[in-house]
């Protein structure tokens, strides 16, 4: 009995439960499959076709991704002659790791003092700003800054991957990623900072707990963040890094077999984590729920945001690199400045 309660204690310990079980890695794996399935199925609906179908007809081809993954696992991994094999294999693995990392500090729910399954950990994850515990892998009061910092590492590893493969298309893709990452990081940073200024805090949990969804408090920041998120995770219309008609698959050109799967996953994971931040900052997060239901509610909204952003594939083409850069620096950056000032004014007048 005692052993079970210890086990139970460690199982539900947020650093483990939040990151591994829910809404962590396991959910991520499921969502990754679902999102790709949805992307293909939604595109198929718009495009007069059926989409994945024959792998489990009853669920509309949901197992297609599993079938694809199986195929990739058993197909040959070709490692080019001229590359360093260690780095070549390491690069996608590093990329995957780095892409999941930011999730550790994203709060997904709060822990009430009693009544929740997480209540025993109330004091460990106590947030003095809101007087409650915060359900996240690792709690700091400045999680907004930390999340942005961890997200900003991700592009470096894409560039690393392109460099390692020693392919011209890959290097061109990496160069594009370099240029884009600078611009979208600025957008995301400005959008979040304007929220932080508006709510006078660098704690995501506190922003949520104010009870005002950021999309009402600062719609401009929401727009800028959403577009920054699309650029950051290479979704259409900013699928510039992997533009398949020009660059084959960009940095992932030389990868095959299971390594290719690993190179594809991080973009979706990055998008999903951005969706969590978007939900927390702009869509009211877990309110009015707490504990596990709160986390589920946040995850649900994040999934919807993710699905909406993958749906863009069936509507848009692809911008050119310079157009995306011009758009982000010439139009969205001023808009984000405006959002910053707007945030300060509204924060001063309304939220105070």
């Amino acid at each position: 009995m005692d052993f079970i309660s210890i086990l139970r204690f460690y199982f539900f310990y947020p650093s483990f439960f939040d990151i591994i079980i829910f809404p962590g890695l396991i959910l991520f794996a499921v969502i990754l499959l679902t999102a790709i399935w949805f992307e293909r199925k939604a595109a198929a609906r718009v495009q007069m076709r059926v989409g994945p179908y024959y792998a489990s007809k009853r669920s509309g081809g949901f197992l297609q991704l599993v079938a694809d993954a199986l195929k990739f696992v058993f197909s040959e991994m070709i490692i080019p002659d001229q590359v360093n094999p260690t780095l070549f294999v390491l690069a996608p693995a590093l990329l995957l790791m780095i892409s999941i990392l930011p999730f550790a500090v994203v709060p997904v729910s709060i822990i009430p003092k009693s009544g929740s399954i997480f209540s025993p950990y109330f004091h460990d994850f106590y947030d003095p700003n809101i007087g409650m515990g915060v359900l996240s892998g690792f709690f700091t009061q400045y999680n907004l800054v930390l999340v942005l910092a961890l997200e900003a590492i991700y592009p470096i590893f894409i560039i690393f991957m392109g460099w390692v493969t020693n392919n011209r298309f890959a290097i061109l893709g990496s160069v594009r990623e370099t240029m884009l990452s600078v611009s979208y990081d600025v957008l995301i940073f400005m959008a979040t900072v304007s929220l932080a200024l508006e709510f006078h805090t660098l704690d995501i949990a506190q922003i949520v707990q104010r009870g005002i969804p950021g999309i009402l408090a600062n719609p401009f920041a929401a727009l800028v963040f959403f577009i920054g998120m699309l650029i950051g995770s290479s979704r259409f219309p900013f699928d510039i890094v992997e533009a398949e008609t020009e660059l084959v698959v960009g940095p992932a050109t030389e990868y095959s077999g299971f390594l290719f799967v690993i190179t594809m996953a991080p973009a979706y994971i990055g998008n999903f984590i951005y969706s969590f931040i978007f939900v927390d900052l702009f869509l009211g997060g877990w309110l009015p729920f707490t504990g596990l239901p709160g986390a589920a509610y946040t995850a649900l909204k994040a999934v919807i945001v993710l699905f909406f952003s993958v749906f863009m594939r069936s509507v848009y083409g692809r911008y050119r690199l310079d157009q995306a850069l011009r758009g982000s620096w010439k139009y969205l950056f001023p808009l984000s400045l405006f959002a910053l000032i707007f945030g300060m004014v509204v924060g001063f007048l309304w939220i105070a």
Binding site: A42, A44, R45, V46, Q47, M48, R49, V50, Y53, F311, M312, S314, V315, Y316
Partner: protein, 168 residues
């Protein structure tokens, strides 16, 4: 020659305000089709199309009708149809590896010894099988299929584009 010479048109250059509307319009159209999909996929192995009359599918020979006039071999643009002597009679053989299904041989045959069938989906395991000697060529491929395959007919529809109706 056109008497009225048209001035070259110019498309409207985009304006920033309309741009946002265009974005919304595009997304709305996407969502419209997402909500009400218009699918024209044929679920092929389960459904199969009954091809219209006159479709130029595989060709079959009526051995008894053939008079061996060689016109079909002469007009064959791909050198697919050749003549061979069988029991003292000249009969055509066909190599489906070369046939381009132009239907000239069927049209030029003076006694209608060749006929187009509505069959186009056949598979062979090696190239030798693609050459049909007169006996093999004489068989009917257009047998009514008894199996799980549903035969459908494609119809042009004003709303959906192409609609598949069960073939009765």
């Amino acid at each position: 020659m056109d008497s009225v010479k048209k001035e070259p048109k110019e498309y409207k250059k985009e304006n920033p305000i309309g741009l946002f509307g265009d974005h919304l319009n595009a997304i709305a159209t996407g969502l419209k089709y997402f909500a009400k999909p218009q699918r024209i996929t044929l679920k092929y192995p389960e459904e199969s199309i009954r091809l219209p009359t006159g479709y130029r599918g595989l060709i079959r020979l009526y051995k008894d009708v053939c008079i061996g006039c060689t016109l079909c071999a002469m007009i064959c643009p791909a050198d697919a149809m050749k003549m061979m002597t069988q029991e003292g009679k000249k009969l055509p053989i066909i190599n489906y590896g070369r046939c381009v299904f132009c239907g000239f041989c069927v049209d030029i045959c003076p006694v209608d010894a060749l006929k187009e069938t509505g069959v186009h989906d056949v598979a062979f395991s090696n190239r030798r099988d693609l050459i049909f000697d007169p006996d093999k060529f004489n068989k009917n491929y257009d047998v009514p299929f008894t199996g799980v395959v549903r035969k459908v007919r494609a119809e042009v529809d004003e709303k959906k584009g192409i609609r598949y109706v069960p073939d009765s």
